[in-house]
Amino acid sequence: MNAEIPSRVQPTPNAVSAPYWEACARGELSLQHCNGCQQFQFYPRTICSHCGGTDLAWQVVSGSGRVKSFTVVRRGISKAYAAPYVVALIELKEGPSMMSTIVGSEPEVVAIGASVQVGFEAWSEDIQMPVFSLT
């Protein structure tokens, strides 16, 4: 690793979240689905945040959603993040919302309500990070 360029913040998977990151590494977005109430949740937990049940199973989801809100960061958090870049809250078709970024277009064309589709970007040798593109 180049000592002069700090690396981007790396997630540290744990026992509960590991299947999420393993799916990302395969190029799939996977969410916990509750067999009790049939709802999806994000982020991963040991319990269902809707009904409190514990019968949760990982399911690959569509990866499509819409922009719930976004901002263009003009002053980056560190040199590892080249401003301007987009930070966005994505509402997935399956219900849950997640933080992400929007890549592949000028920040100025991003709008709330726009349709997006997931893709993956290498954050490290081990981590593929879900990112979204306008569709």
Partner: protein, 391 residues
Amino acid sequence: MSGSALRGQVAIVGAADTDVGVLPGRTPMELCVEAALAAIADAGLDKSDVDGLITCNAMAQPMLYHAEAAAEYMQIFPRYCFAAGAGGGTTFSVIHHAMSAIATGMADVIVVSMADAMRSGLTREQAMLVQASTGHPEFEQPYGVTVPAYYALIAQAHMAEFGTTEAQFAGIAVACREHASRNPTAQMRDPITVADVLESRLIADPLHLLDCSLVSDGGSAVVLMSAERAADTAHAPVYILGAGEGHSHEHISAARSLTTSAAKEAGERAFAMAGLGPAEMDFAQLYDCFTPTVMVELEDLGFCAKGEGGAFVDSGALLPGGALPVNTHGGLLSHCHPGNPGSMFALTESVWQLRGSCGERQVAGATNALVHAQGGIMSSHAALVLGKEVG
């Protein structure tokens, strides 16, 4: 027992701030102790009268046992002593706790003192930690989300849902600066215009530099005791008529709503305890780490309808002499923002306003006020209704 049993039982009898702004060489503990002792003196008390102490930890001087260290520094020996941590909302959450401690006899005289040195006291590692301590380490931080960016998500959502404009957010910064221009202790006192805000550097769309609060050093403290005992103190007591909290999330990506916050529950609970409503408040101090927080809080606390915050700002209500002067000391945007202690200065200012001792910036005839603080990303909310009379 209903929470409303606490109504008017506890009074603020002492209040003090240290100098604020850029204070090189001053440690947070020194500032915390200076504020505490000045507040005790303001109340006409001796430190030996104090049997309760509440502080918050300092980013620039983190300690395992902060309140105990502050008590040791001052050589007081409380029977009720703790340091709390709920970000910017810590301030009034602990006032709520202190009220119940006094009402239940856990302590008789409680000092709440908080200080930090975010401007001059952070090492490079501590500054990094401040940035990194916000957001979910696994599901938010990797995207390079800055603190202004989290709040910008709220601003954008409000604009999309209600047609709020950047100029309306800017109007909040202008109002705070107008108040600060009348306050000799404020860090930033030169008046600004909406155009100045909009022409300042974009930090995270739509937030410009002047939509963002200051980074400061400073400390602030109050002394609380029972309303009964407060009758004999140096100044007219300021009564805590209502207190309420609401806690809705930690991470903004998991928030129930981007445009309605738990300030709604906090305000409803505080007003219900007080038996008063928003229309009866002579001024309000609203947590203003970034301008959009004030927009959402004006609506959630009931000062205007949801979605009408922009028009309310346009009406000039927030300005000195307006229908609801907001942040009469200048707020975090223009008075000072030393991190988590920030809204303590809104509380001491409110005490002085209700004593009628604010000189040029005095709100004429001020009798009741609402003070509000929040921590996290609109996560933890606490509101207090203060009054000159128990009524």
